[in-house]
Amino acid sequence: MKSFLIKGGIVYDPLNGVEGEVIDIGLRNGVIVDPSSLDPRETIVVDARGMMVVPGGIDVHSHIAGPKVNTGRVMMVEDHYLTNIPGKMGLRSQTGRTVPNVYKIGYGYARLGYTTVVEAASPPLKTRHTHEELDSIPIIDKMTLILMDSNWIALDYISEGDLKGLAGYIAWLLHATKGYGVKIVDPGADLAWLYGKGYGIDLDTQLPEYNLTPREIILMLGEASTLLNLPHPIHVHCNRLGYPGNYSTTTRTLELSSKYSTGNKISMHITHVQFTGYKGSTWATLGSGGEEIARILRRQRNASVDLGQIIFGSVTTMTADAPFEHVLFHISRWKWAFADVEAETASGIVPYRYRRRNYVNTVQWTIGLEVALLTKDPWRTFITTDHPNAGPFTKYPRVIAWLMSRRAREEEMKKVNRRALKKTALPAVDEEFDFNDIIIATRAAPAKLLGLEDFKGHLGIGAQADIAIYNIDPGKVDPSRDWKIVEKALSRAEYVFKDGRIVVRGGRVVEETYGSTLYVKPEIPEDLSKTIVDKVREMFPYYYSIQYSNFIVDLSEIRKPREIPVKTLL
């Protein structure tokens, strides 16, 4: 394998405390090595003078694969007609806009300099499908979170108050599905949805069938994953998402994070916080809860959020929050797909369009930015658009420009609904992120949140050689003024290395490689494991319509599995 020397670049590597220094970086055999150890005869030198060299980007929340994504593709065929890029030079053809095909996803992320993406929600029963689709996505490393909040077996354990049993079951389920973490979506809502309920349930709403509330579900799942010492904490989509006044549900959920956390570790990740940051009591009186959320978040050191930032334009919303999609269907009045999955979860898909002149959409737009700018902690606020719910991932550079430049925001604010702006704090916010903040929020912090900081998200010796080089000189460009230059540079990486190979050059994908699929393997005591397997085997024929043995995803089914071993506290 060839080795590379990235010479003269301006390096940002927050995990190693490097902020804009000129450092040479050597790569060999897919990992970062000491440049002096490279054999000059076998080394290709990449001239990165005047360019920004950073670790490959990590997206902690994106819907890129799985049953609902694929249904979204079928529903949004009109998206594919005018967005085709033919496959050339050994690449495959790309198509789609809000829900692109696998090639457009892989190449698209690579062009942005992203090398790792988390699929945010997969129903256990159909996770084999999710893996098949992830396997088809080129270039990036990937992993999938597993939906657990309405899982009947998990709820059985929770209602019995059997914490150890629940932890054991989570370990079994993650192992059986080769998943990476626990996803909670509008906790309990999909359980209620099966009975025609679940609309706008709050933390203390009594759920049907089980004598439980969403609060108890979050706490138990949070506690169990802490006990399992999972690398990624519970990933929560809050109750009452999309309902006016829901910011208080979010802040109360945030407060739960300290109830079971240990030490400084982040014990709860709240996702696409924009959708759960609404003040006001109706759509007409909607306001931004961004300030309040930022205030609570600053205090709750064990929690983090990602933005779910709105991008004006067309989107395809898709979520395991089935009841909310039903509500959205009545707002959008066009197409709606839902699918209920036995004993586990459900999902919904509704295409939608965010418009600048729309009062509600404008309020939504301000919330994500407010949370990020007012919290001012890039270690705990991640940049996402909840692709494809709030906007496509390809617009990340636009979000970054808004965060880095007040002028960029003002430019946008000229075009949006004036009445809505008056109700939000954003026009008064002066805060601006610098390059280091951005690299923290898109590389270093996500690697830590996913528990992968050993080999991802930094450029130290031994790290995975996933590197993005952008043609921009942070010393010369003032992002506040020249935000357009920043946006352009970040949209098309000059070079991207994936596992030590050049996959993007000059903003074009030049080689199709396939990354690994990461999954966790929590080691649990043998006797507990046996109890769990016995119980699951007993319940399985009753709850499920397939056989126990056919449920388990085998490693041989995954193109390039990479195990993340976990030492549990059990």
């Binding site: 694969a65 049953p67 994504v69 694929n70 249904t71 593709r73 079928v74 529903m75 065929v77 009109e78 998206d79 594919h80 085709n84 890029i85 033919p86 496959g87 495959r92 053809s93 198509t95 789609g96 692109p100 095909n101 696998v102 090639y103 029963l125 159909k126 084999r128 499908h129 098949e132 689709e133 088809s136 949805w193 099966l194 009975y195 025609g196 039903h326 269907f329 197409k335 709606w336 797909a337 839902f338 699918a339 209920d340 999955v341 036995e342 004993a343 898909i349 509704v350 009753y542 709850y543 499920y544 319509s545 397939i546 056989q547 126990y548 043995s549 056919n550 085998d554 089914e557």
Partner: protein
């Protein structure tokens, strides 16, 4: 000719005219047709007897003076065919039924109205008694295609050996993918199949019969000549590499691994790639594009469904385990058959209808009207006509009320809706009906998928190309234009110049016009068995039977992915589908200079 015979002939002609019956012809699956196709193959007597039969209402039959086993000539605008008669009191007057197959296809309507779906149902036809003979499969195929029908079926050597019981075997027959099957193996003999329906069992037990085990290339004499595998692969690659716009069709009876390579091959060649969805639930999929979906996994039917509607589908004959698994068995909340209300809507009293609590007979081809009326009734709008599609208005109000007042309703639907005149409009309307009902209660509608991995074929195609079926790469980018890129239309219009058919039998199931054109172009077939298409092919490549001799992923009709298993070694020198496609792909690349 003597004068008496002329007089006699004239008399008979006159009599024939008087004894002519006008019917609406419906085609579809029947249990015996499906079983015999899987067991003895399509050249068998049993298949011939079942698939070359027109079922008629007893009164209709009496009218033209025919009875069981008489022969009749069925004539439509699109062709004529001689078939046997059988009597079915479940059929309404004026409707005739021929199981899907080459006989039916000789007379069905090839027009797809820009949807890809020919009209397989409700075709106006004239029936009169005849003394002519019913053509055999071989005769029929050679008349239509003008090719010499040739087959070299082999019954695999069965050898006793290690005795094994395979547990949790996934049946590779229909979209229900029963995964609790026990297969008793003795060496390579399937001794017993426990839990499978007659169709699935027939497929698994008879895996060794009617097999293709050697590659063949059609010789100048018009017969198939055995050759080596590399030679057959070379020839296949040559045909594909030199074609301008080939067609890759089938894929629904193979595993995802093969479909993924198939799409890559199509993209490289600039080909059309299509799966059998185009002639089954293609309109449903277009309905999803128009309106969305309302689905659930089948386990929930067991747990929750207190009302089950079967509309235009006949699982008793096409998915024989379906009723038992999801209607009779109980779940968490609904304890079994007696707690469920089962309603069947169909044009004839099918075997499924006989198991239902209620049967509503709809006029052939009028399902769309009935769904629309139901939507009106669900919204409490007044229906002006006293009957819609042959169903009294009061009945519609009553049905709407039943749908609204159940706790969790599930509608299964099939070809009875997709093959009608309005095509996807019926499905769009049905999906919207389910959407409307979700304002009252929970209601889902689930398509009854036929081939065991047709769902997987759609899923794979969607994530790779953005479109679920009928994808054309001619311009280097995926295009989906129903009526243009659909395999049926491309063949009917003669838009393709070579074809690779894999794990499917279009000669048996496409309208006559499409089959005629298919026989005019170089034709490659990859199949484990002697399908009718294989018998007229230019290149025949044997493949391992996926689901028995090859493993991989397949998707159940509700999208639940399962692994089908390899339990028996394929015959020597026979590869699995995905390896064959990979071999062809690498050869094509070489030929095109890479």
């Amino acid at each position: 000719m003597t004068s008496t015979s002329i007089v006699q002939e004239a008399l008979e002609e006159k009599l024939g005219e008087r004894r002519q019956l006008e019917i609406l012809l419906v085609t579809g699956r029947s249990l015996v047709q499906g079983m015999s196709m899987e067991a003895e193959g399509k050249r068998s007597r049993r298949y011939r007897l079942s698939a070359s039969t027109l079922s008629l209402n007893p009164e209709d039959a009496q009218l033209i003076g025919v009875e069981k086993n008489s022969r009749v000539r069925v004539e439509t605008e699109h062709g004529a065919i001689v078939v046997n008669v059988s009597i079915d009191p479940g059929l309404p007057r004026g409707t005739g039924f021929i199981p899907m197959g080459p006989w039916a296809n000789a007379v069905v309507c090839p027009l797809t109205d820009g949807t890809g779906m020919p009209k397989y149902k409700n075709i106006p036809a004239k029936v009169r008694p005849t003394e002519e003979q019913v053509p055999s499969v071989e005769e029929l195929v050679s008349i239509i295609t003008g090719r010499r029908v040739d087959a070299h079926p082999v019954e695999l050597d069965l050898r006793e050996g290690e005795k094994k019981i395979i547990e949790d075997f996934v049946c590779p027959f229909c979209g229900d993918l029963c995964d609790f099957i026990k297969v008793h193996l003795n060496g390579n003999i399937v001794e017993k199949v426990v839990g499978a329906c007659p169709l699935g069992s027939s497929k698994i037990r008879n895996y060794h019969r009617d097999r293709i085990v050697k590659p063949y290339i059609r010789s100048p004499s018009g017969l198939l000549e055995e050759c080596t595998l590399p030679k057959a692969l070379d020839k296949a690659a040559e045909i594909l590499a030199s074609s301008k716009h080939p067609l890759i069709f089938g894929l629904s009876s193979t595993v995802n691994e093969a479909i993924i390579v198939g799409v890559e091959l199509a993209e490289y060649l600039g080909a059309i790639i299509d799966n059998t969805t185009v002639v089954c639930h293609g309109p449903t999929t277009i309905g999803v594009m128009e309106a969305g979906a309302a689905r659930c996994t089948l386990g929930l039917v067991r747990h929750l469904a207190d009302l089950i509607l079967f509309w235009g589908c006949n699982p008793a004959e096409a998915h024989p385990n379906h009723f038992k698994r999801w209607v009779i068995e109980g779940g968490k909340h609904v304890k079994g058959r007696k707690d469920r209300r089962v309603i069947v809507i169909d044009v004839r009293r099918t075997a499924t209808a006989r198991m239902a609590d209620e049967f509503i007979m709809v006029e052939p081809g009028k399902d769309y009207e009935l769904i629309t009326a139901l939507r009106m009734a669900v919204k409490d709008l007044d229906i002006e006509q006293s009957t819609v599609a042959g169903v009294p208005r009061e009945k519609i109000y009553e049905l709407a009320d039943a749908l609204r007042s159940c706790k969790y309703g599930v509608g299964f639907f099939g070809m009875g809706l997709t093959m009608n005149e309005p095509r996807y409009r019926s499905l769009e309307e049905l999906i919207k009906l389910a959407h409307d009902l979700n304002d009252w209660t929970r209601f889902t509608v689930v398509p009854m998928r036929g081939h065991y991995n047709v769902t997987g074929a759609c899923q794979v195609s969607t994530w790779l190309t953005g479109y679920p079926f009928s994808v054309d790469f001619m311009r280097g980018i995926p295009k989906f234009i129903p009526g243009l890129t659909t395999a049926t239309d491309a063949l009917i219009r003669g838009d393709v110049d070579a074809a690779l058919i894999i794990a499917s039998d279009p000669v048996a199931h496409f309208p006559r016009k499409a089959v005629e054109n298919l026989s005019k172009i170089p034709l490659i077939v990859v199949d484990p068995k002697w399908s009718l298409t294989a018998m007229i092919a230019d290149v025949v490549i044997p493949s391992a039977m996926s689901g028995v001799e090859a493993g991989g992923t397949a998707y159940r009709m509700d999208g639940v992915p399962l692994r089908v298993k390899k339990i028996i070694e394929p015959p020597t020198g026979v590869m699995e589908d995905h390896r064959i496609l990979l071999e062809i792909l690498s050869r094509v690349r070489r030929l095109r200079g890479e």
